[in-house]
């Protein structure tokens, strides 16, 4: 996060400089100072208005968060200096970030790889567990949404299991698979499956009877009904479930990897703690946050594709 913070702090003056330069330049020319609201000579017609609009939007969007980051850095430095000298300084952490990002892809052996590999191993576990959960969760969600019998039979079990921390399943995974990697994937599967099942079921139940009536007039069979009506109509709900799942899965994988060891961003943090390299941990926290944002942005992009608007 320090990397991002410093970048944003250094960006802010540049943006302000542009604003100053924009308003100062025409006044410095030969022409008399322009009247209020008049477009100064020498500018393309839409130039200053466009630039001013852009800066009016960009400056607060960059300056306000930059101020927050700056305040946090200052608070961190003060806490470090006066209360917890064991905390690394901002400068130390920054140096560590530079070091980590200068060679993120190194491989010195199976237990010593660059941070990019750590992230990729974690992502691979999250995505496989997530994909399995989608494969199982969608049909189960459809069954619960369409069949009262199935709903009555399965909902109590799901309600009991849903509030359980997925990490509680880790020992069961180890017992079942006798290996840590599939166990971590299993934990992610358990994490992801509940929101997917429940959102799919809600989505199926929310399909307007108008849509199914259209299909009935056309004598759609069961398969056509599912493919052409239920799946597209439920898609926005399914994607909301998937977005929730993916976000939680990314949080859970860090904890799961701390327990399973091996390679992955979660174990990286644990390993650096054992090495007493706290700057690395802070850098890793920043990386986890940014990857989390990226995953969410990706899901939002898919969701926008399936946003049908208010018809």
């Amino acid at each position: 996060m320090t990397d991002a913070a410093l970048r944003l702090v250094s960006d802010a003056p540049t943006a302000e400089d542009e604003l100053k330069a924009g308003s100062a330049e025409p006044a410095g020319g030969q022409a008399p100072p322009p009247e209020f609201g008049e477009v100064p000579k020498g500018w393309p017609d839409s130039g200053p208005a466009w630039l001013r609009d852009f800066l009016a939007m960009a400056v607060p969007a960059i300056v306000l968060p930059a101020v927050t980051f700056l305040l946090v850095l200052v608070a961190w430095s003060m806490v470090q200096a006066s209360l917890v000298p064991e905390l690394p300084t901002v400068q130390e952490t920054w140096a560590k970030a530079v070091e980590v990002f200068s060679d993120p892809f190194y491989v010195y052996g199976p237990n010593d790889m660059g941070v990019a590999w750590q992230v990729m191993y974690s992502l691979a576990r999250v995505l496989s567990g997530f994909a399995l959960a989608v494969l199982v969760g969608l049909p189960v969600g459809f069954l619960i949404g369409t069949s009262r019998v199935f709903e009555t039979a399965w909902m109590p079990l799901i309600q009991i299991l849903r509030p359980v921390s997925p990490l509680a399943w880790l020992p069961i995974g180890l017992l079942l698979f006798k290996s840590v990697d599939p166990s971590a994937v299993f934990v992610i599967f358990i994490t992801s499956i509940w929101p997917i099942i429940l959102n799919t079921a809600v989505g199926v139940r929310a399909v307007p009877s108008d849509y199914t009536n259209v299909a009935r007039v056309l004598n759609f069979n069961r398969s056509e009904m599912v493919r052409k009506i239920y799946i597209p109509a439920t898609m926005p709900y399914i994607l909301t479930g998937m977005q929730l799942s993916l976000g939680t899965a990314w949080m859970v994988i860090v904890a799961a990897e701390m327990l399973t060891g091996g390679i992955g961003i979660g174990f990286y943090i644990w390993d650096e703690w054992n090495n007493l390299s706290v700057p690395s941990i802070i850098v890793a926290i920043g990386i986890i946050g940014i990857v989390g944002i990226a995953l969410e942005a990706l899901m939002k992009l898919v969701q926008r594709r399936f946003d049908y608007g208010n018809a």
């Binding site: 307007p208 108008d210 009536n213 009935r216 007039v217 759609f220 049908y308």
Partner: protein, 265 residues
């Protein structure tokens, strides 16, 4: 007019099972409709007019009695009785073209080629003047346009009977007028049998050959039938002084007024 019984609703009743017991919505509804006839069903809210339409469409099971179309007993929904739904019911994830294409592909799957089906979709969109918006999503067009597409989708099935459930209820007066004219034009061209539910007296008198007035529920039935003896094509402006039109309109107004007190809104 054709003497063969086209659409026959004989002694039909509908009883809903609700949590608080049974509710008798319709009792002994008996009606024959000729081929090519335009029939309106009018009545106060809750008189079961939508229920009657759903029975003809086959979307709701009949409790007793029977409905037959060209001698065939109706057992369920089918494209020979296409429905124009009250709120258009276009599928929002499909374009205007795809919404109509969905119906055409299903109904003419074995009988027409891909190219013929495409042309037929476009022909129906042209019929309702919507070919220009073929590739727009329902969310991108106005309410009146959506209803036009809903009509095109229903007509594209080449139904024997077109069922319209308050098709213009949600539209502003100007758009409604345009669509009424379009429907009259299409009816004149294609000669479909049409059953339309409405609660607009002027609309019923303008469009219909016969107006079926329904008594209030529970156990609603046909209260009165009024024939509109006005030659087609009809023009709304000329009708203002037509005595047949005025008498039909007056009959409906009187009926609705007499049955008003029963539904204290």
């Amino acid at each position: 007019m054709d003497t063969q019984e086209h659409l026959r609703i004989s002694k039909v009743g509908k009883i809903f099972k609700t949590s608080s017991g049974q509710y008798e919505a319709l009792r002994d509804v008996d009606l024959s409709i000729d081929k090519g006839e335009f029939v309106s069903i009018i009545g106060h809210s809750g008189c079961g007019k939508s229920t009657l339409l759903n029975l003809v469409a086959g979307l709701e099971p009949i409790s007793y009695g029977a409905i037959s179309l060209d001698g065939q007993i109706i057992k369920g929904p089918g494209p020979d009785r296409a429905v124009v739904f009250q709120n258009h019911s276009l599928l929002p994830w499909l374009t205007v073209y795809e919404n109509v294409r969905l119906a055409v592909d299903k109904v003419f799957a074995g009988t027409r080629t891909d190219g013929q089906r495409h042309d037929w979709v476009m022909a129906n969109l042209e019929l309702v003047n919507m070919e220009h918006a073929a590739h727009k999503r329902p969310a991108e067009i106005s309410g009146g346009m959506k209803q036009r597409v809903g009509i095109a989708r229903a007509l594209s099935m080449e139904p024997k009977v077109l069922l319209m459930d308050e098709p213009f209820g949600a539209l502003d007066a100007l758009t409604r007028g345009h669509l009424q004219d379009s429907v009259m034009e299409i009816h004149a061209r294609l000669g479909n049998t049409v059953i339309m539910i409405t609660h607009d007296v002027d609309e019923a008198a303008l469009l219909s050959d016969r107006i079926i007035m329904m008594s209030n529920g529970p156990a609603a039935g046909i209260g009165q039938i009024s024939t509109v003896n006005v030659p087609r094509p009809r023009h709304r402006v000329e009708l203002v002084e037509d005595p047949d039109y005025l008498s039909a309109r007056a009959a409906v107004l009187r009926f609705l007024h007499e049955h008003r007190s029963e539904v204290a809104a």
